[in-house]
């Protein structure tokens, strides 16, 4: 793929899927149109730039994927696939530039950490990985009938990264983890899991028995803290307030910086 002389500036609008994004790369090389922005049709705002609607074509997507793997290597293909799950704004543009540079540099692109695009994507990817790791701990299930249900609200789209961990660990239990931010859910039964897009779903209520269990857990949580070492600032660093809403042990918890009053 050779360097092209792009003259006209447009916004690429695609369907928001990774395949769709690969087709954007295809178009970059085969149309003489340089994007100023690549927008998913879901969060696309009309502007004075011209739009180029990118049709998702699996044949094109396959060819781009193949080219990336051949020329920039498997590691980078995986890296880019995962970057697509990050909450980095304008991630598509960073990723496009990464691919363009990658075709010139080869697999070593990943070590060009002083390059702006590489550095920003690497940081966003690191953020995704960290958040995924944290949510291995922050997922909380409650039992509703035979199914264990959980709701999470992460910043990045982490379900594809964490689903297999839970499917393995809870191989003999049916569960669902619902990501209310990205409107996705993983549903698992006997080690087989699927990630599905869901619009609005109504989660089952928390039963009395289940509340009992949550109280037991909160009781453990409250008791394990050593009051002579009270350090809410440190707790906040590790467990920011935005994740509290889905943690039963944090209900009714105050983030005061003072010691709780002794009774």
């Amino acid at each position: 793929m050779s360097e092209l002389n792009h003259t006209q500036q447009v916004i690429y609008v695609y369907d928001g899927s990774f395949e769709g994004f690969l087709c954007c790369i295809y178009n970059y090389y085969y149309n003489r149109l340089k994007p100023v922005q690549i927008a998913s049709h879901m969060n696309f705002v009309p502007s004075f730039y011209d739009n180029l609607m990118i049709e998702t074509d699996f044949e094109q997507a396959y060819r781009v994927r193949f080219a990336i793997e051949e020329k920039i290597g498997h590691y980078n293909l995986k890296f880019l696939t995962e970057c697509f799950y990050t909450c980095l704004e304008e991630k598509e543009m960073y990723m496009l530039r990464y691919v363009i540079k990658g075709f010139k540099t080869g697999p070593r692109i990943k070590d060009m950490l002083t390059d702006n695009d590489v550095s920003i994507l690497t940081k966003a990817h690191r953020h995704l990985e960290r958040e995924s790791h944290h949510f291995l701990g922050f997922v909380r299930f409650y039992k509703a009938g035979d199914v264990y249900v959980s709701k999470i609200e992460p910043k990045n789209c982490i379900l594809p990264l964490i689903a297999s961990h839970f499917a393995q660990r809870f191989a003999n239990q049916q569960f669902m983890i619902y990501d209310a931010v990205h409107k996705q859910a993983v549903i698992s039964m006997n080690r087989n899991y699927h990630i599905v897009n869901v619009e609005d779903i109504q989660l089952p209520p928390v039963s009395e028995d289940e509340k009992q269990m949550q109280r037991l857990w909160k009781n453990f949580y409250d008791t394990i803290a050593i009051k002579e070492r009270f350090n809410p600032k440190c707790r906040m660093n590790f467990m920011p307030k935005r994740v509290w809403v889905n943690l039963p042990e944090m209900q009714g918890e105050e983030n005061t910086t003072n010691l709780p009053q002794e009774v």
């Binding site: 070593r108 070590d111 409250d222 008791t223 707790r235």
Partner: protein, 439 residues
């Protein structure tokens, strides 16, 4: 007594135990319940900022021993409770299924004898492993004085075992934990090391040989209940890593619970900063290739409260600095304050692609706040930074005041032992120059 009350008593009694990590072993799910992740997973953080990973409880807080520092000692009048093995196993499973925890951390007061106590704990763990097929993480304490046969059984059931050495010297141990003895502690510890080696050899020969405590063994000791120096404690940790191949040595700042003439008074604040410094130094031993003797010495046997051990070492070895980021070997990069393992690796990767300057370092995510006094990029120090011991000491100690660590009253008294660097004319002059340039 209902479960709620039991759990309260037995959690409250276990909370001073420090180790709560679930790291050190990676085990995929086996189609049943549970797995383990090598990096460990924290599920929550308690109000004291400590990670909650395991259901950490005592099997019972009834105890026939009388350790001076312990809330559960037999001479104390505190509410007592005991789980049955099944109760504990069931609770673990219920919590685990809801992803509250990574597994179980079980310890206990001594009922009847060390062996009787261990047998009860083994029962609970057996129900988990054998009856429920639980494949998650289990850490078990070994009660000092437990017989080798029981250690062998427990070791093949759990992921990690630990014998607490409790206090940093035999003298303190005899004084404060009269029912325990050095031999009672080091014999089991040695037995575990030996058993691990046997199992490692067997696994080479036949793959399905039972694994013995695959996440290894750890220990912990109380800091500040007795008068050992930091140097003594650090050297002891080093010896434990060398001799017993321990995975971790944990330190716990002493929190007074009992009024006892052998112990610091009840209003003593826990030496949290000291504990923090010990962990920092411990980190240097385990991951940075330092030896205890490089960090402290007989003459200089306590940590500097104002400087982390790595800064302190670097300032005392200024003749080795500055180092050039683009050429220094990995081991030297690791010795720069503010550059960690991840940072050093990134530097090595990135400098193969391009010469690094200070902007480049920032793009890599290297924090220069401390590192700037010890490095050059392409032969130049960072603009406006002089590489000079006095200057660096002054800047670094004033930074540490901003650390979010609260220095306790006793520890501030120690501060007077350390000579604050004097402001000299040259330095003031430099400061003024800098201000002019900035304006």
């Amino acid at each position: 007594m209902n479960m709620y009350e039991k759990l309260t008593i037995l959690t409250d009694a276990a909370k001073y135990d420090v180790a709560c990590t679930s790291s050190g072993v990676s085990r995929a799910g086996n189609g049943g319940l549970g797995s383990a992740a090598a990096a460990g997973i924290c599920h929550s953080w308690s109000a004291d900022g400590r990670c909650i990973s395991l259901l950490k409880v005592l099997f019972t807080n009834y105890c026939s021993y009388d350790c001076a520092y312990c809330i559960n000692r037999k001479s104390n009048d505190v509410p007592r409770a005991a789980f049955t093995p099944r109760e504990l196993a069931d609770l673990t499973i219920e919590f685990y299924r809801r992803n509250y925890i990574e597994g179980l951390f079980i310890s206990s007061g001594v009922i009847k004898s060390p062996d009787y106590t261990m047998e009860q704990m083994i029962k609970a763990v057996r129900i988990l492993r054998e009856e429920y097929g639980f494949n998650g993480y289990i850490h078990s304490k070994i009660i000092p004085g437990t017989s080798p046969e029981l250690i062998e059984i427990m070791g093949t059931l759990v992921d990690r075992v630990s014998v607490n050495i409790e206090l940093p010297s035999e003298k303190s141990l005899n004084m404060l934990a009269p029912d325990k003895s050095r031999t009672n502690i080091f014999l089991p510890m040695g037995k575990i090391t030996e058993q691990k080696e046997i199992s490692a050899r067997n696994i080479v020969r036949y793959r399905h040989a039972p694994k013995f405590a695959p996440a290894g063994q750890s220990t912990q000791m109380i800091i500040g209940a007795s008068n050992e120096t930091d140097f003594h404690i650090l050297r002891l940790s080093q010896a434990l890593y060398d001799k017993y191949k321990l995975k971790r040595v944990f330190f716990s700042a002493y929190i007074p619970m009992n009024n006892d003439r052998l112990l610091p008074s009840l209003d003593t604040k826990p030496p949290l900063l000291r504990e923090h410094r010990l962990y920092q130094a411990d980190w240097l031993l385990r991951f940075y290739g330092f030896r205890a003797e490089e960090i402290l010495s007989e003459e200089n046997s306590m940590f500097n409260p104002l400087l982390d051990p790595k800064c302190n070492w670097a300032l005392n070895n200024m003749h080795m600095f500055p180092i050039e980021i683009n050429t220094a070997p990995y081991e030297m990069l690791l010795r720069v304050p503010g550059i960690g393992v991840t940072g050093a690796r990134k530097i090595i990767r990135a400098r193969k692609m391009a010469h690094l300057d200070f902007d480049g370092l920032k793009k890599l995510g290297i924090v220069l706040k401390r590192a700037q006094y010890f490095i050059t990029c392409k032969g130049k120090a960072m603009p406006y930074v002089t590489i000079d011991k006095q200057h660096a000491t002054l800047m670094l100690t004033s930074d540490s005041a901003k650390d979010n660590f609260k220095i306790t009253a006793e520890e501030t008294n120690q501060l007077s032992f350390f000579d604050m660097p004097q402001l000299n004319d040259r330095f003031i002059h430099k400061q003024n120059e800098r201000m002019v340039i900035n304006v």
